[in-house]
């Protein structure tokens, strides 16, 4: 009895201690004890891009708070997996963050939750954005989100495997790609010619690479058009690749990140990758002999899938507009923004940022293809439904007729 009481006391003590310590932690991150004043508090909800993200944001917040002593920033970092459910829960509970870093924003704009960006950044900052990126955040001519970072896709090629298979040069068209990938696959020993990740992780990206590369489109801000004849050549080409055995086994349910690890191990001939992939190869297998080339398309014309994440500001009480403006102006100043983008290995969305990073060798192949970038129709409120329909259904193309899969995705989008 006595023993168990002592044990209980120990648990109570430990609990108190951890609570106290935790509250210390919160005090520390919000930057000081003078929180009782009439200062403004900004809640900032961001996803984690890498292990560095938290520290990078903490630096930004510290720098901002020292320049603006009357504003406190509460930073919350979430994983990408949780991000969308966290924001939905917060909105439902009337606790939307003031600033949010995410992908799809058209749903929030349609629910009239966001500030138009003109209201929350200075004219100078606004004019520094690349016009094409800003245009991609417009709903009915008003931009509701600020471009944050961009990334383009390119084809990563394992030079050694291609050479071994007798392929002279990296492919530029679908026919060449099919030919090269089939030859590499024929090497045997578990080596795959082309790494095709159509699993739920990011099926919409691989789908876009193929469907758009054949002249297709997912639609625009007014309509989602997945079931469109222009998407069929790309879908049929995916089937042709699978049927020829030019891809790894079971592409329909292979996720991108684990497959990229296999590419990095040198077991895959070609796979579409992103700027951060360069860093992953450096870390995982620096000896890999690879090159980065534009994505092959049906007729060889240049194209890349551009992905852009955005920063948006929620209209909570309406009294934080100035503080938000101050934060955005601080963040996008090139001294703060460029190191952030550089550390995460993405591409900048501001003109000043592009200038500053123009000489980066690793980013050069991506900066080259960026002018030909096409983006998801993320200004369409239905895009997030289309996005999840692709993730859930597109991989079935491995076993079902291409047309049926496109029809099924369109049906799920229309039903939402």
């Amino acid at each position: 009895m006595k023993k168990s009481m002592r044990f209980g006391a120990a648990i109570a003590l430990a609990a108190t201690a951890s609570l106290t310590l935790a509250s210390c932690g919160f005090g520390g991150s919000s930057g000081g004890g003078e929180s009782g004043g009439d200062g403004t508090t900004l809640d900032l909800l961001v996803p984690s891009y890498s292990d560095n993200t938290q520290a990078l944001w903490e630096d930004v917040v510290d720098g901002f708070e020292s320049e603006n002593p009357d504003i406190t920033v509460n930073l919350e970092v979430q994983s990408w997996d949780n991000l969308e459910s966290v924001i939905a829960t917060k909105i439902q509970g009337d606790e939307a963050p003031d600033i949010y870093n995410g992908g799809p924003f058209a749903g929030f704009a349609a629910d009239e939750l966001l500030y138009p960006v003109e209201d929350v950044v200075s004219a100078d900052t606004l004019s520094d954005f690349q016009e094409s990126f800003l245009a991609n955040a417009e709903v009915d001519g008003t931009a509701y989100a600020l471009p944050f970072i961009a990334s383009g896709r390119a084809l990563f090629v394992n030079n050694a495997l291609l050479e071994q298979a007798g392929v002279a040069a990296p492919p530029t068209t679908w026919d060449e790609l099919l030919d090269a990938a089939t030859k590499v696959s024929a090497l045997g020993g578990g080596i795959a010619g082309y790494g095709m990740p159509l699993g739920s992780e990011e099926a919409q990206a691989e789908a876009a690479v193929w469907l758009w590369g054949g002249g297709g489109t997912f639609g625009d801000e007014s309509a989602i058009t997945v079931d469109d004849p222009s998407n069929l050549p790309g879908a049929e080409q995916i089937k042709a690749m699978i049927d020829a055995g030019a891809t790894q086994a079971d592409p329909g349910s292979t996720d991108r990140s684990p497959l990229m690890d296999i590419f990095i191990q040198g077991q895959i001939g070609m796979q579409v990758g992103l700027p951060p992939t360069v860093g992953q190869i450096e870390e995982g297998n620096p000896d890999l002999d690879y090159s980065i080339v534009p994505i092959p398309t049906q007729d060889g014309s240049p194209f890349t899938l551009g992905v852009m994440d955005q920063l948006m500001a929620f209209q909570n009480d309406g009294d934080k507009q100035e503080a938000i403006t101050a934060f955005f102006d601080y963040f996008y100043s090139s001294d703060v923004y460029v190191p952030w983008v550089q550390a995460e290995g993405f591409l900048p969305v501001t003109k000043s940022g592009a200038e500053a990073l123009g000489g980066e060798e690793a980013l050069a192949p991506f900066l080259d293809v960026l002018p030909d970038a096409q983006f998801y129709p993320s200004t369409n409120p239905q895009w997030s439904a289309a996005d999840s329909a692709f993730k859930a259904l597109f991989g079935q193309i491995q076993t079902k007729p291409a047309q049926d899969v496109l029809t099924e995705i369109q049906a799920q989008v229309d039903a939402s």
């Binding site: 969308e84 459910s85 924001i87 939905a88 829960t89 909105i91 439902q92 749903g107 929030f108 349609a110 629910d111 939750l113 045997g188 020993g189 578990g190 795959a192 159509l198 699993g199 739920s200 992780e201 099926a203 790894q248 086994a249 079971d250 329909g252 349910s253 292979t254 996720d255 684990p258 296999i262 191990q265 077991q267 409120p381 997030s384 439904a385 999840s388 329909a389 993730k391 859930a392 259904l393 597109f394 991989g395 079935q396 491995q398 799920q412 039903a415 939402s416």
Partner: protein, 328 residues
């Protein structure tokens, strides 16, 4: 031979201070004799009120919110756009894959619970015998329960990965799989589902085994001795004497397992998560897909209510048909 060990072992179990025959009549007298009136209830209220508040707070309130949400139209970003009656239920039932998913859910529950219970009966019987190191073996049986389900599933999942999974590599090495990178067990609906069942059985075993083991230790030694005196063999003794005594332990094990397995998400979520389409989904993973992928909180709530109702019906049928609480 085995009968002698049995008689040797049971007294040890009983001597641990387990309730013998005396425990049972006492329990019966407590429930049957007097009906408490309203006055008694009023007297008891201060004592049971905290428990009632807790039950209302953690059981009825969330269930109520779930039902309320299922009749609303909630936008993708989580804004409540007003009531829509039973439209969300219509969407659930009109979903073309709903009935296959329901069928698969039932297969999932029946197969996992049935195999778990049979294996647990065997395991518990072994653990009930006295043998050197029994304590350690009993401890080992608990370990799958102590590890988090997601961890256990992840271990199997990565073991099954083509290229680098050890289970796959092993199968390739012994020549059962003839592709050098291994077979995509978790990439095809049928095999992924089958492996999920294996994992689910594995993680359900500890609880079930221990529940049955507890039941086994309440079987009085003198009853077994009497059976032996009457000339019953080990098989006859087991099915005629031991198994009927396990009735209440089995009832608890089966009921909790049905509810638990029906509501199990992590195993299927990990094992079948990357498979496109709905060919490996149960109701639970479908709820998750509505919520996480399609952001239809309202439809997910409706499906949750449907699942809730199904569990209640299954349990009601089970209690009515098997009468698990009836004394032997």
């Amino acid at each position: 031979m085995s009968t002698t060990t049995e008689t040797e072992s049971t007294p040890t179990g009983a001597a641990d201070g387990r309730p013998r025959s005396g425990g049972r009549p006492g329990r019966r007298s407590g429930t049957g004799e007097r009906k408490p009136g309203a006055r008694d209830l009023a007297h008891a209220l201060p004592w049971i009120a905290p428990a009632l508040i807790l039950i209302a707070g953690v059981v009825f309130f969330p269930a109520g919110v779930m039902f309320f949400n299922s009749t609303r139209d909630i936008s993708i970003s989580g804004v409540d756009k007003g009531g829509v009656g039973f439209d969300n239920y219509v969407e659930v039932f009109q979903f073309p894959y709903f009935w296959p998913i329901l069928g698969r859910t039932i297969v999932w529950v029946v197969v996992v619970v049935a195999i778990t219970v049979v294996l647990s009966l065997i395991l518990a019987q072994i653990l009930d015998k006295a043998f050197p190191g029994r304590r350690i073996v009993r401890l080992v049986v608990i370990i799958p329960w102590a590890a988090s389900v997601v961890m256990t599933t992840m271990v199997v999942y990565y073991g099954l990965e083509p290229y680098f999974g050890i289970i796959n590599t092993f199968l390739v090495d012994i020549g059962l799989v003839d592709t050098p990178e291994g077979y995509g067990w978790t990439r095809n609906p049928a095999t992924a589902f089958a492996w999920s069942i294996v994992v689910a059985i594995f993680v359900s075993l500890p609880f079930t085994t221990y529940t049955i083991l507890a039941g086994l230790q309440t079987v009085p030694g003198d009853v077994l001795e009497a059976a032996k005196m009457d000339g019953a063999g080990p098989v006859r003794t087991y099915f005629g004497v031991v198994l009927p005594q396990l009735r209440s332990a089995l009832a608890v094990a089966v009921l909790i397992n049905i509810i638990n397995v029906f509501n199990s998400l992590p195993i299927l979520r990990v094992m079948t998560g990357s498979i496109p389409g709905y060919d490996a989904d149960t109701i639970m993973t479908m709820i998750f897909k509505y919520m996480q992928n399609q952001h239809k909180i309202d439809v997910a709530s409706a499906l949750s209510v449907v699942a809730f109702a199904i569990v209640i019906v299954i349990v009601a049928v089970y209690v009515r048909v098997v009468k698990p609480m009836k004394e032997v």
